[in-house]
């Protein structure tokens, strides 16, 4: 028997409260029917005896205490899944919006997922060639990794993401899929991604979830959960290699903050709820591979750092969970360098075990190490030059400045359509290092130098 509740006892922001509810369960999905027949979905977030607090996904606009009929569905939030979802477009709650009708489910799955047992995980070790030098050489992407792009408003993170999708050889067999989750992005950004997928001829492998900037904010909280549930289904049930792009995580976190404050929770830093870390972790940790199961979930979340501040809670907490980060730099962007990857703070935690002999090439770790160390010295030289002027610098520092310039223009900079193989990238790195005398390359051992270094032994 389904009990329908005819009244609400309280409406506050996106939350409504009901009294005299006997049989609600935590996280249960409820359907709210308005007097005009439209339906909205909500989720039980708090139970106090017979008083139940419900979060309404589509917002509470137009609701009054008396015009709503509430029905408890008895299940937690589940979405329909079948192989046919490939190529489809959904809204933020995984309802079709492409006019192709409902999905006939093979199975339904709880969007909250369950944590992967650390014992069952397979440690990711497969290098993904992205064709982008700065990433391949210095912050290598690994299959099953979560590697976010830290960007700022107005920078070219979308172009970079598209280039990653287009050039990444994510699977050996070609059986890959892309799950694209848009949270609070503008309509034209979503269009840009859609067109890019079409141009790259991958549209039939893409699942799109769109919660655009003008869509209800509370729905946004469910969007990444739905996207990752789809990704897990595609990866671990259909055994595909799945790349998940989530943009923009900043909008997601702000939606969470709005929801938390309307619930009256005690705020942490900058008003974000104290559980922001756990919440983000429950999303990012869904990337990975399972021992003995073909398929993988690789995540590339994109977030725009408010005011380019990397210590803001959103990039900060993200960096603590993800396995590295790709940081974009406004200075490079102004110089017209694409992709404007700031290589020093960028990092891939998984690359240490997945590059070098047997994976990419034996000189890769040494080269990466030396390039970064030298580029860090370039920054010191630049700082000195800005005080005393470039002309006053010593010979070594002048050489460093020249190296820095070429490194940015030739190594970091590459065309939107340019796809460099790992060999090309590594050779280019050695070519640049060879303009420095051998004694400035402290991280390079003699054996590697003999094979790859083409510069002079010493400046003298």
């Amino acid at each position: 028997m389904i009990i329908r509740h005819l009244k609400l006892s309280e409406i506050n922001g996106s939350l409504v409260a009901l009294d005299n509810v006997k049989d609600a369960s935590n996280e249960e999905i409820v359907s709210l029917e308005l007097a005009d027949g439209t339906k909205r979905l909500g989720r039980v977030v708090k139970i106090d005896g017979e008083k139940v607090t419900i979060q309404v996904f589509e917002g509470t606009r137009g609701l009054s205490m008396s015009n709503v009929t509430t029905t408890f569905t008895g299940t937690t939030m589940e979405i329909p899944l079948s192989p046919e979802i490939l190529g489809r477009t959904f809204d933020g709650l995984c309802r079709p919006i492409d006019g192709l009708g409902e999905v006939f489910p093979d199975e339904r799955r709880d969007v909250n997922g369950a944590p992967i047992n650390p014992v069952s995980r397979e440690y990711p070790r497969n290098f993904i060639q992205t064709g982008i030098s700065s990433i391949d050489a210095l912050a290598t992407l690994i299959r099953g990794q979560k590697l976010p792009i830290f960007s700022g408003s107005g920078m070219k993170h979308n172009e970079l993401a598209v280039q990653l999708v287009r050039q990444s050889t994510i699977s050996d067999s070609g059986d890959f899929a892309i799950v694209f989750a848009a949270m609070g992005v503008k309509n034209d950004v979503a269009m840009y991604f859609k067109n890019s997928f079409r141009d790259a001829n991958v549209m039939d492998r893409v699942v799109m979830l769109l919660n655009l900037a003008n869509d209800p904010i509370i729905e946004r909280i469910m969007t990444p959960k739905c996207a990752l549930t789809i990704a897990e289904y595609l990866a671990f049930t259909l055994h595909k290699h799945v790349l998940v792009i989530m943009t923009d995580m900043t909008s997601y976190c702000e939606a969470l903050r709005e929801y938390s404050s309307s619930k009256g929770e005690i705020p942490g830093r900058k008003g974000f709820p104290g559980y922001l870390y756990s919440d983000l972790a429950s999303l990012y940790e869904r990337a990975g591979m399972i021992d003995g199961v073909e398929g993988s979930v690789t995540q590339i979340p994109i977030l725009t750092m408010p005011n380019d501040d990397i210590t803001h809670p959103i990039p900060d907490l993200t960096g603590y969970i993800t396995e590295g980060q790709i940081v974009l730099d406004r200075g490079l962007d102004y110089k017209g360098i694409f992709p404007p990857v700031s290589v020093l703070p960028s990092l891939s935690r998984l690359m240490k075990d997945s590059i070098g002999e047997g994976f990419t090439r034996e000189d890769h770790p040494t080269l990466a190490n030396q390039l970064l160390a030298t580029y860090a010295q370039v920054q010191d030289a630049k700082a000195l030059a800005s005080v005393i002027g470039e002309d006053e610098l010593g010979a070594e520092d002048k050489l460093l400045i020249e190296f820095g310039k070429r490194f940015e223009e030739r190594f970091i900079n590459q065309g939107f359509g340019e796809n460099r193989s790992i060999t090309e990238t590594l050779d280019l790195g050695w070519e640049l290092l060879s303009m420095l005398p051998r004694n400035m390359l402290e991280r390079v051992d003699d054996k590697t130098a003999e094979k790859y270094y083409k510069g002079q032994e010493s400046k003298e």
Partner: protein, 583 residues
């Protein structure tokens, strides 16, 4: 009267009315028997934190009392295993639930079916007290398990069995106390995680924990029984440093607690530690390691419990007379779990939303470290090394600040060093160790009488370089006088050749303390000899152009750990080079 659920808010569940439940008792919540702990009792409500996901719980479902505080099973089978935050074996969970972690059902922590070759040390009639060892069995090929009388008991042994094969649940003997009460003695016992296990007393911590990491052993050493904090923003190498310590430090047993961190990292530890061999025993490192994995997406309440579980296991092995080391990565996640639960309880927040009891909880935890005399007369120690992940890399936040108060070693990781790929990125200017005085006798007795003098000189040179760099940043290095140029050159050798250490190089990943001393000695030797040259008004560049500085930078790779006599010839080379310049 049966207790039933009244309210649910995230991981916090309330039961209405006064109940018989006692504070910090373990309870089973709901039909699925989720594990929970009572955290607040008043006349209106009993509040329970649930260690598992609470989705689909309903009001009216039962809450069952166990009568026990949150406890862990202690016995053979712990070492080499991987547990979640409340000591449930993850391998057994995989066998039951598959790749994803399911809910409910309690697992026994120790494998009840496995038989151990037990050697009995007591006979009927022996009088024993708490902590005394009554039987031993090999737990792994390197660790002997010593079964002890639970600390509160004492009395006379009756019905002792003979040597043989027994499981953790078999009764090996009975103990009759002075009142005639009889207790069964088994290989395993239970202990509540929030209570420290008793000891006779504390002993001074005067022996260093040798880690094979130069910047730690030689510059900022930690004592066995000490406590250290490793704070650092993301990407500065906290986890890498913890892994290096867990791999190479000379404790007998390592407890590695992955508290709210990445799943892949735990997988990596598990894999790597079963492949790597311990330099001392030649056996896989996993045979002396316990892993506790409560990754960031596993329930937050269990994360709060995980470090207590870890330290209780450490205390148990300490009581047997072992030196244990506990790595907690990261205590900030634990503090955040505290904050999250405190928020759900609507407690008044203090600094940055953390509860007011954060400092007292931290001090309780760190005070469970120490070098102690055990109840059975043996000596053991727990060294605590806690990683701290300060928000926004800001060391003034509450967790870092409070941790600083209760630890005596502070290894501050630095973003700038990490960006330049200088690992371990421990900043020598704002790290410190308060154990130096306690340990100086050990270093002079066991390594060299002038070890501490060497260390001081090295530190002084680094300090001088730091102040010289201020000038160099303003006007460039060319204008410095030659003696200061020499300091800059030699400090570069110290930084690149000594402090920086390559975790992926087979010799450099672990460096014996003797070699560390010889390296310092050689660097200082070069410094002293070069000073003679500079005093004769000969420019430093003459020495630099011989390449001797670069040879010293490379000596960590060029001189294998077992051929320390090569340092003699290196010193001789320095002498002849300098002699030639001076001629």
């Amino acid at each position: 009267m049966q207790n039933v659920i009244f309210g649910i808010n995230g991981p916090v569940v309330t039961v209405k009315g006064s109940t018989s439940l006692s504070m910090l008792e373990t309870v089973y919540v709901g039909e699925k028997k989720l594990i929970g702990e009572v955290i607040k009792v008043d006349s209106d409500f009993t509040t329970i934190q649930v260690y598992e996901e609470t989705a689909s719980l309903k009001p009216g479902e039962p809450v069952v009392s166990t009568g026990m505080p949150m406890s862990v099973d202690l016995g053979p089978g712990i070492i080499g295993n991987i547990f979640d935050g409340i000591e449930r074996p993850l391998t057994a969970m995989r066998d039951r639930f598959g790749a994803f972690i399911g809910r409910g059902a309690d697992f026994s922590s120790l494998d009840g079916g496995k038989k151990y070759q037990v050697k009995m040390l007591v006979r009927d009639g022996d009088k024993l007290k708490g902590g005394d060892i009554f039987a031993t069995c090999p737990e792994t090929s390197v660790i002997e398990h010593r079964a002890m009388i639970p600390p509160a008991l004492s009395g006379e042994i009756i019905e002792a069995v003979g040597d043989g094969e027994y499981t953790v649940n078999d009764v090996l003997a009975r103990l009759r106390d002075s009142k005639g009460n009889v207790t069964e003695l088994k290989l395993s016992q239970k202990w509540p995680i929030r209570n420290p296990r008793p000891v006779v007393g504390r002993l001074p911590a005067v022996k260093p924990l040798i880690t094979g990491q130069r910047v730690i052993d030689s510059v900022f050493p930690i004592a066995k029984g000490g406590a250290a904090a490793i704070p650092g923003g993301f990407g500065t190498g906290k986890t890498m440093t913890q892994h290096q310590l867990a791999k190479w430090c000379d404790a007998d047993i390592i407890i590695y607690v992955g508290c709210g961190e990445r799943g892949n990292e735990m997988t990596q530890v598990l894999k790597e530690f079963s492949e790597l061999t311990d330099p001392k025993s030649g056996k896989p490192l996993l045979e002396r390691t316990v892993l506790i994995a409560n990754t960031s997406n596993m329930p937050v309440a269990a994360r709060e419990a995980s470090i207590y579980t870890g330290i209780t296991l450490a205390e148990y092995y300490r009581d047997m007379g072992y030196h244990t080391a506990l790595m907690a990565d990261s205590t900030s996640r634990w503090a955040e779990a505290l904050r999250e639960i405190s928020g759900r309880l609507e407690e008044m927040p203090a600094d940055e939303g953390f509860p007011a009891y954060l400092p007292s909880r931290l001090s309780e935890f760190y005070e469970r470290s120490g070098y102690v005399k055990n109840l059975n007369g043996s000596e053991g120690s727990i060294t605590l090394i806690g990683a701290v992940s300060p928000q926004g890399s800001d060391f003034s936040e509450p967790v870092t600040q409070n941790t600083k108060r209760f630890t005596r070693c502070f290894w501050a990781l630095d973003k700038a060093l990490a960006y330049a790929r200088h690992y371990p990125a421990i900043n020598w200017n704002n790290s410190y160790s308060e154990y130096l005085n306690d340990l100086s006798d050990w270093y002079s007795d066991n390594i060299s009488p002038d070890f501490m003098k060497c260390r001081e000189e090295i530190c002084a040179l680094l300090l001088e370089e730091n102040s010289l760099m201020e000038i160099v940043k303003l006007i460039g290095a060319d204008v410095l006088p030659d003696d200061q140029k020499l300091v800059i050159e030699i400090a570069r050798v110290i930084r690149v050749g000594f402090l920086q250490q390559n975790a992926f190089h087979k010799d450099d990943t672990f460096v014996p303390i003797e070699k560390q001393y010889r390296m310092m000695d050689t660097i200082l030797h070069l410094y002293r000899r070069s000073k003679e040259v500079v005093e004769r008004q000969i420019p430093v560049s003459r020495i630099v152009s011989t390449g001797i500085f670069d040879r010293l930078v490379q000596m960590k790779y060029d001189i294998p750990n077992d051929s320390l006599d090569m340092f003699d010839s290196l010193n001789a080379d320095i002498d002849s080079l300098i002699g030639e310049i001076l001629r």
